[in-house]
Subunit: 353 residues, 4 copies
């Protein structure tokens, strides 16, 4: 399992379901990675994903794949409930791990994975895909670079006619995207403190299909997330209100994803005078690139450079902490529930821009 | 003060501030109404509103106006805190009353006005302007006529760079629009039951400038309202999800305000099979007309016909009941607060289509 | 008819049809103007326009109005075919004239009006309303100030489900808006040289209901205008491509009417190397104001200051010259027809910003 | 080279440039096709396109590929100037041919290819990709099925910041898309009769970078196409005006590509009464599928079934006829130039819906 820097990193993709094909395609296209297996219990499905023209091996046995010393890393796209055993087996076999969100089915399981990776000095990375889009990279610079001023509120809407998941509610299915984006862009000293969640299940799915999550940040501002599987139209917008600028991100508007407004309300504290800024709007030019390509590149770089990736296990753990608190709130009529804190620096990785 | 049906209804507008000029203009244009006064403590302001070419009288004295037997009705556009004394004086003088939203500064005051009007057989009408738009008239037909099926959720967003009010928070300023619309379109057996509200005041205005209101309806579904004075962009959308159809109302898209989607998720209860409808979308043609013209016409008609208007005092009271519950929830960390019920039929009036 | 600078300018509006009410409203609201008459052959219509609450006089006789020494100026909103006699009578009576577009039914008639006004030292102004919008004022600064670089092309689309005019085709009805905007924003040394027009009449209206006008400017670039009465959707966009910046004007997007793009294709001439700029976009903040208010203010100012208005008779004449050439081209299968030149400076007036 | 119906059709892709990779990917995914070669003079480029995980052969020799009896068909994505020799060589070797638009560099060359294919009974198909989108399939049904009534006008806009081609002008680069769509959707008895074209080259590219094409159809209506490489924004819209309905196609709006309006102007011929329809708008649900997949499926089906494909050589020839006429008009100041007619039925193929 020794590997020098010039040898490509042997990688296996575990899971040939919804997301697996994307991992396969991007692993193949990433310099420094060498895709050796697509592994799925359903071997035929794996074969269909690869098609008739591929030299990549198919395997139905995770054990076999993990036993191959040419495999240095795995990318896991199996159901969340299986993340703990699959990722733990990989870590115990000494493999670096890239795992789909959420990190695990609950905070305690996630904690085990983080500890296992850290104690072995292995990379544990979350596929928080959105964090590798040019839009979020730019947002991160705007927010952490101070251009927006102090964060006043965040409002995110992520609704569409979505697949009603059998095993998780809409919060666990969709909100991880928003929560991981907050994790990536917020300054280190602005952390989620407590969470309130409301939800409803109008179609009798057995869990919430529409949900609203309200989160109080450590600077007192409020962040709101609306997730919904039942909306006939697709909306993917996030407004980040700051004391100096406000940015609107519309991810479905490819020609103007980000709009940075010099518009807002100012209040001169001493004399309580309220004034309005109505300046220009700037839509920054963003490069076009596939986010998952960036995920793979960061995974490869973090392994090669022996550093935590931008979206490391602790980032995944922080998202889990919020999801657990949200579920508790949901069960308790929307009462605020404190968010368990995860120590350690966030977002220390580079590689986003 | 006797008036037969052919004599126009003499009317006075009280208040020459932000909204008063619109009342003046529309009162003048409404057949059956005869505008006799614009009344404001600031006589010069009233004069400026009327301009140099008007025959309408200006008055600085409410008493004088109410003493004029040619004045049969008043339209009140003064600050909410003054609604009780001004409207009560008018009712006690035997005048019909049209009043800006909210009906009064609190539920108890509103109750007094409703009682005073009902005991005297006078019209007490709320200027819930949006309820007289062609869009809301059509929504009312869609929802109450059953075309949407059972209501599953409602989500309303009303955000823009708004005037930060000195005396009321953003909930009391903006949410009455949404609440009065719900009041107008929901079937009689679907009523708001309890309310949770979150808010924040990031600019130090002294009360919430950003707020989220979550309301549980009697059929179990959830209604959410997001109001915000600090957003650089203006959004006015409402999604009404139904079991048969879902309608999206975008009030800022004049060429396609309503979009009725035959898209959604169905679940066959017995076998728990989930299926997806992905049918066509229909954008109904809507007439163009100014809503406030409809308000004035309904006010005149309800007086002439001796019937309650579509947006009568009880409708205004129901909105107040929700606002009070929301304020209590806001002060209590977002806990659900029951909504005081107002008996009597809702929306019995006609005149919307 | 003597008038000192402090006495308001007495004005009469001639024509109580489609546009007249707007002139009445804005004349009343403009400091320095004193509206004395609304004049229309149909006195009842004029009365209805003024409503029951107005002190403005109604007249059915143009002669009477022009004979009143308190009337110093007239604003004419009668059919184009009547502009020559009505405006000429006013000028001969020593009145300043504001006239709806187009200046007259043909170039020769327009020439007579310009000569009559200039020989008497009277203001002759065109109500080219769009030229007084904040958007066009800003465009004028961008283009004439050089920020766009050299103008490379202009493309304007003005289509909607419009009133099919009985007496003029769609070019004469809609294109004057575009042509007067070009007139206002283009630098003095970039003039329309020749025009080609195609049109069709698919509903049998007797003249073109859909038309395309292609205009070659003196700097070699091409300007295209698409006008259409039959489109189910309304589009009002203009793209002005420059060598340094390109601006897109979407008049139906009130929150982002102008978008200035630092995007384009550059070609280094010597080595024929083509490169692409893909910089940011800026949407300048624009004030909200009614354009017709600006028209009235400029009319009053040009009279008071004794200077030509921004949209003077010669500007109207230049528009007529293009329309005549376009009609000739239309009748000749789209062949290019030279545009008759009107000497004298353009757009020397101020007052736009 | 014999092939029974169950053996997959052996296919080679010729050209590994801009479009070749898309052909490779879709050929691999199409049942009934067996991709055997990617052929390019630049063997390294071909290898890069296939990547490190492919079993497909690379070849630098067209002759070798055509000599392989397992190759029954070729898909050609080389520059237009090479279409004649490459496609002719393939046809002479008895291979079926799918070729990128335009069919050839001029009408005469295209004619030779059509004759060569027809005389040998081989499939010659154009990759008019847009014709295989769900939107165009639906448009074809709407137009040819009569739902729009009589076609009154068509207006197409295809502008963006595009690659300035070194060898062809913007008409030859972009307009083939529009022209092939017209070819696919118009009824057999509505044919392009004459064409006028205007263009300009403001950056000194050596040929038109902005162009307007006006086409008179045999039913008297006008079709207009605006193509532009210099626009900072991307627009892909087509309006098809009919006497009964009008459809607006906005290809960049994935959630509402087609909008069918029951809005328009009617004229009762005898009494010359003009009336306006202002009915609802319907946005039909369209499936999501990749158009190029449909191209490949139609190519395979036309070979297997021995029938002409929807976009056969004659369709390609008709597009060439218009492009040649447009170029002649462009060189002659925009004068109308007749379009050479190509006999034979159009669009007889199935497979679009």
């Amino acid at each position: 399992m020794e590997r020098d820097d010039v040898t490509p990193i042997g990688i296996a993709v575990i899971g040939a379901g919804y997301w697996g094909p994307n991992l396969v395609r991007n692993a193949q296209a990433t310099p420094g990675l060498n895709l050796r297996y697509l592994c799925d219990l359903d071997v035929e499905r794996a074969r269909r994903v690869l098609g008739e023209y591929s030299t990549v091996a198919v395997s139905g046995s995770l054990d076999d794949v993990l036993a191959d010393p040419e495999v240095h890393a795995v990318a896991i796209a199996t159901p969340a409930a299986t993340h703990l055993p699959v990722a733990m087996a990989a870590l115990e076999a000494g493999k670096h791990v890239l795992v789909e969100k959420p990190l695990a089915a609950n905070f305690a399981d996630g904690r085990k994975l983080v500890d296992a990776a850290e104690s072995r000095g292995l990379t544990l990375m979350l596929d928080h895909t959105f964090c590798y889009t040019p839009a979020v990279s730019h947002l991160r610079e705007l927010v952490r670079g101070g251009e927006l001023g102090e964060i006043q509120y965040i409002d995110s809407v992520r609704i569409n006619l979505g697949l009603v998941q059998p095993d998780v509610d809409v919060l666990w299915d969709l909100a991880p995207h928003d929560l991981s984006i907050f994790e990536a862009i917020l300054p280190d000293d602005v952390r989620p403190v407590e969470v309130s969640a409301h939800g409803s299940d109008p179609i009798g799915a057995g869990h919430a299909c529409v949900a609203h999550l309200t989160m109080r940040l450590s600077n007192g501002s409020i962040t709101h997330v609306h997730v919904n599987w039942l909306s006939p139209t697709k909306i993917r917008t996030m407004v980040i209100g700051g004391s100096a600028r406000t940015v609107v991100w519309d991810d479905l508007n490819p020609t103007q994803r980000l709009s940075v407004y010099d518009r807002g309300v100012d209040r001169e504290r001493e004399h309580k005078i309220i004034s309005y800024r109505t300046g220009d709007m700037v839509a920054p030019a963003l490069p076009e690139r596939e986010a998952l390509r960036g995920v793979m590149a960061e995974f490869a770089a973090s392994i090669t450079e022996g550093r935590p990736p931008l979206t490391d296990g602790r980032a995944g753990l922080r998202v889990l902490a919020i999801l657990e608190a949200a579920s508790e709130s949901l069960a308790n009529g929307g009462a605020f529930v404190p968010v368990q804190q995860v120590d350690g620096p966030t977002s220390s990785g580079g590689g986003t821009s």
